[in-house]
């Protein structure tokens, strides 16, 4: 197996340490991320998701433990810009991460910071906008776009730095359902078509339908880490609020409790319909 893209070992972080207001935000986390994975991270408010995200590109440094990105330690000051290039971060509020008033100028901001030659920046901006399907908006003003479109521009701004991994911290939370679907679709395509590693952080399990693996967090610890279907099926065990499993996963569990023999992992409408049909002995194309 290749070297993991991200390797987190015994990560601990305390806000305001050595004061009476000390908050242990991360309490001994270990996990690794392989290239090409689509990883979901779920957890209630204050469970430490954002603190973890900020450790992945050296916006925060561990109090103890290590974070390695492609073998580089985030505490190595000389490696910090390479780490930030490799792990691109997208935040919740699209308005607060767009720096320019023209879409293509915003996408160019990252490559400009990397000191690339103008011709190469132009090429990358074009590619990145095409990858998120925003090419026709390249001369528009971002503040006139919809929330989902703004967030796609923010993603393009990161892609233009050619990162190995995208970390999205609640990047869908402020969007309406259409915008949310638009962004999730973009991520799924980037992951499947271009092999971009995705780490999608959300407090809502619904957003993680495309994830292959899910890590559930609570109070700075990992409580579940495994294949998405398995974690979703056990969603009710995750403490910390309204983490309702996706409706299909919930429905599957009810049906299972009612005695229907269904396999785990059917959490889309089609998959569950097929599974129910199979369990009822109708063949896969039955009308359910």
């Amino acid at each position: 197996m290749s070297e993991p893209l991200i390797e987190v070992t015994d990560l601990r972080y305390v806000y305001h340490s050595d004061t009476p207001q000390a908050v242990v935000a991360l309490d001994g986390l270990s996990f690794s991320v392989e290239p090409g994975e689509y990883l979901g991270i779920v957890g209630g408010n204050g469970s430490g998701k954002s603190t973890l995200a900020k450790h992945l590109n050296a916006l925060l440094l561990p109090a103890s433990g290590t974070v390695r990105v492609g073998g580089l330690d985030t505490r190595d000051r000389a490696a910090i810009w390479e780490i930030r290039r490799r792990v691109g971060m997208i935040f919740q509020n699209p308005d607060n991460q767009l720096v320019a008033t023209v879409v293509e100028e915003d996408v160019a901001f990252g490559p400009e910071n990397l000191g690339l030659p103008p011709a190469m920046i132009r090429e990358r901006v074009g590619e990145a906008l095409a990858a998120v399907g925003m090419t026709e908006f390249r001369r528009r003003a971002p503040h006139l776009l919809s929330g989902g479109q703004k967030q796609r521009v923010a993603i393009a701004g990161i892609l233009a730095m050619r990162p190995a991994c995208l970390v999205l911290d609640e990047a869908t939370t402020m969007l309406d359902p259409a915008g949310r679907a638009e962004v999730l679709e973009t991520l799924a395509v980037l992951n499947r078509r271009d092999g971009v590693t995705i780490m999608l952080i959300s407090h809502a399990m619904e957003d993680l339908a495309d994830a292959g693996r899910i890590i559930a967090m609570d109070r700075g610890r990992i409580v579940l880490d495994g294949p998405a279907a398995r974690v979703m099926a056990r969603a009710d065990e995750i403490p910390g609020g309204r983490l309702g499993a996706p409706q299909m996963a919930k429905l599957a569990r009810w049906l299972r409790e009612d005695g229907l023999r269904l396999p785990e992992g059917a959490h889309t409408v089609e998959a569950l319909a097929d599974a129910v049909a199979a369990a009822a002995g109708l063949g896969t194309q039955g009308d359910v």
């Binding site: 810009w81 935040f91 720096v99 990252g110 490559p111 400009e112 103008p118 901006v125």
Partner: protein, 268 residues
């Protein structure tokens, strides 16, 4: 009450016109030259010609006239005050009396001056907004940074100043939208704006300004984080997608501005 429609100052209108395509340094220098010229023009004829010139430039830059004029609305009060003061106090004792209102005497000379100053004011604001209509904040930043570069040796933080200006321009529409939202929310709770004495009106804005400031601070924190995450580390080692490059068009534009200014300043 749609603030974003009223306040057009500093807004960039992406187009691809000859004006948009000029080097930002040319546009900054030309605008500065025109503004200085405005203060040196001695006659109405000169101001009239400059106004015609600005109208032609608006057309060349594909800026709708209505949009440009809307930019003047926020300064209407200031404009009226200027005209008023000059009409009654600007003429000295000389000149024929036009009319009298109590102790205030409007002289013909004062009225002429008022019109002159008012027109100059309008042209000044139009020239400045024209610059931002046809130059994106990023281009403005790059141009300004280049122009300020020689002053770095005496401690002027050229890159930082330019970056600050460009972010300020970027956040004007965002903060206007937010102000609107907060005002609507306060109105839903019974707040009344624009009624009662000046003191009451000012007080009504406190519940708008406080949340606006808090949110602006939060935004700036998040923006700083996002910029760092995108490898921003100051001006050192940064490159540009759009390189600054003097072209023939810039030469021609510069020559035109110099020629026009020279003529207008002498026109009686």
């Amino acid at each position: 009450m749609e603030l974003t429609r009223y306040i057009t100052v500093g807004q960039y209108l992406p187009r691809s016109s000859p004006l948009h395509n000029l080097d930002p340094r040319t546009k900054i220098l030309a605008t500065t030259a025109l503004m200085v010229t405005l203060f040196l023009i001695p006659s109405f004829a000169g101001l009239g010609l400059l106004a015609a010139g600005l109208l032609a430039l608006l057309a060349l830059g594909q800026i709708p006239l209505g949009y440009a004029l809307r930019g003047l609305r926020p300064i209407a009060v200031l404009l009226l005050l200027t005209v008023f003061l000059n009409t009654f106090f600007g003429g000295g004792d000389a000149g024929r009396t036009l009319f009298q209102a109590g102790p205030l005497v409007a002289t013909e000379e004062g009225f002429r001056r008022a019109l002159f100053v008012g027109l100059r004011f309008i042209l000044l604001v139009t020239a400045a907004t024209l610059l931002t209509f046809v130059t994106s904040p990023v281009e403005l930043t790059d141009g300004l940074e280049w122009l300020l570069h020689p002053f770095r040796r005496v401690g002027v933080p050229a890159h930082e100043l330019a970056m600050m200006m460009s972010i300020a321009l970027r956040f004007i529409p965002t903060l206007l939208e937010e102000t609107e939202k907060i005002m609507k929310a306060q109105m839903a709770r019974g707040a009344e704006f624009g009624q009662g004495s000046i003191l009451r009106r000012a007080r009504a804005f406190v519940p708008v300004l406080v949340p606006l400031l808090i949110s602006a601070f939060r935004r700036s924190e998040e923006l700083a984080l996002a910029m760092e995450a995108r490898c921003y580390r100051g001006g050192e080692g940064r490159t540009r997608m759009k390189e600054l490059r003097w072209r023939t068009a810039d030469l021609v534009a510069g020559a035109c501005v110099i020629a026009v200014s020279t003529v207008l300043v002498r026109l009686r």
